[in-house]
């Protein structure tokens, strides 16, 4: 399932290209709204970074099930042999991979445009980003399946997603902030443990309830 989605994505590059362009545009928006003041920028950088991640996630994840819907393959998902939770895992992995590519690019662009030195913080930062994105993707894949069958889905998806993701965002932003200030990963242990706990809860609920949503 993940493989199929990634292959489709690689062939069409539809979502990825738009998302990368979107993040680039966001970068400009941040620059213009925050002004050229370096000090201020450094202070809000973790928040801005995750704002970029969450905005592109909302756009990218909302499209997760569009392929199936537009091509009338929803029944095919239903008829897929084996456990329905496999479909969820597949979608989750595909979303995660897509988002990580976008985020890596955004991160690289940030270092270039805003002249931030990530160097020593990078391994810890990578862990926090993967954990945070996993949480976003776990809830996102579940809610995207839900809202894809609903009127006004573009609106409903973020409305459902954002409040639920508050703990993930808080944890990720706070951990990123501490890491960028040069603190060690151990000093933000409670934050990344919270992220792990959130990821586990979301994935378990997703696995258990996904077949209920797929019913139609």
């Amino acid at each position: 399932m993940a493989w199929k989605d990634l292959v489709v994505e690689r062939r069409s590059k539809e979502t990825l290209n738009s998302l990368l362009f979107f993040s680039l545009a966001l970068l400009f928006v941040f620059q213009f709204t925050l002004g050229p003041d370096r000090e201020r920028l450094a202070a809000v950088l973790p928040g801005v970074l995750w704002l970029g991640f969450i905005l592109s996630s909302v756009l990218g994840l909302g499209r997760t099930f569009m392929v199936e819907r537009d091509n009338d393959c929803w029944e095919a998902l239903l008829l897929a042999p084996g456990d329905k939770s496999a479909v969820y895992v597949g979608k989750l992995v595909a979303c995660l991979a897509l988002m990580l590519v976008v985020e890596a690019t955004v991160l690289a662009l940030f270092t270039v445009f805003f002249n931030v030195d990530l160097g020593p913080a990078l391994p810890g930062l990578a862990l926090v980003i993967v954990l945070g994105t996993l949480g976003i993707a776990a809830v996102g894949a579940l809610f995207a399946a839900m809202t894809s069958q609903v009127r006004a889905r573009e609106l409903l998806f973020p409305v459902l997603l954002l409040p639920v993701l508050v703990p993930v965002l808080l944890g990720a932003v706070k951990a990123t902030e501490a890491l960028l200030l040069g603190e060690s990963l151990a000093s933000v242990a409670h934050w990344w443990q919270l992220l792990v706990a959130a990821d586990v809860v979301y994935i378990v609920v997703g696995l258990l309830t996904f077949d209920v949503i797929l019913e139609g």
Partner: protein, 215 residues
């Protein structure tokens, strides 16, 4: 049965008012403003109780697919959101004279606000999905996610910042409250719990009637 519950709730609310305004003493530093606590604190307890009911009912619906469980979950989450709204509003009214501000981004205020928005989204999803059976399934999933998310929200926001006075009642060691205030608080809690149960029961029945009328 439901009507009897309603009358019990009325009696309990009258008793609660009598306790809050009559029996409980005037608080020394905050004055009469403190009396809003008899509504403020029980409201949030009842709201969380209602969310627990909604959580259990959501699981029960997914397991058994009985419409009754769905109506109960819907009603409980609605009433929970209402009581949480009461809690936030009374908190703001209390906060203005006491803290000097209607609102502050303190840990417990923030986490309650996040939970409030989360369940508003739940009610929004209920409205957005037209097919009643699908609406029930989706809402049950969201109800489970939202309920499990409550502790995560609390921990994350608590670590984020805290300034609120620590809870005076549910903490280790003996309670720091004078007996009459504590009694008034508990009587009001019982009153609001009965009132909440009555609302949930009535609302469940209305939802069932509505579903029947459509079918």
């Amino acid at each position: 049965m439901v009507r009897v519950l309603g009358w019990f709730a009325v009696v309990a609310v009258v008793a609660g008012l009598a306790m809050g305004f009559g029996v409980a003493p005037r608080e020394a530093t905050q004055g009469n403003v403190q009396r809003i606590m008899y509504l403020h604190v029980p409201a949030v307890w009842v709201a969380y109780l209602a969310f627990i009911v909604g959580f259990v009912a959501s699981i029960a619906y997914l397991a058994r697919r009985r419409n009754g469980a769905d109506h109960l979950a819907h009603a409980a989450c609605e009433v929970g959101t209402l009581f949480l709204g009461v809690n936030i509003a009374t908190g703001a009214i209390w906060g203005k004279p006491t803290w000097g501000t209607w609102w502050t981004w303190d840990a417990r205020l923030t986490s309650v606000a996040v939970v409030f928005v989360m369940f508003l989204a739940y009610l929004l999803l209920r409205q957005a999905v037209e097919d009643p059976e699908r609406s029930a399934r989706y809402a049950a999933v969201l109800g489970i996610v939202a309920a499990l998310n409550i502790p995560l929200v609390h921990f994350s926001v608590y670590w984020w910042r805290t300034l609120h006075q620590p809870p005076s009642l549910l903490k280790p060691g003996s309670s720091s409250m004078p007996g009459s205030i504590l009694t008034a608080l508990l009587v009001n809690f019982a009153a609001l719990a009965l009132l909440g149960a009555y609302f949930v029961a009535r609302r469940t029945r209305v939802l069932a009637d509505e579903a029947e009328a459509i079918a």
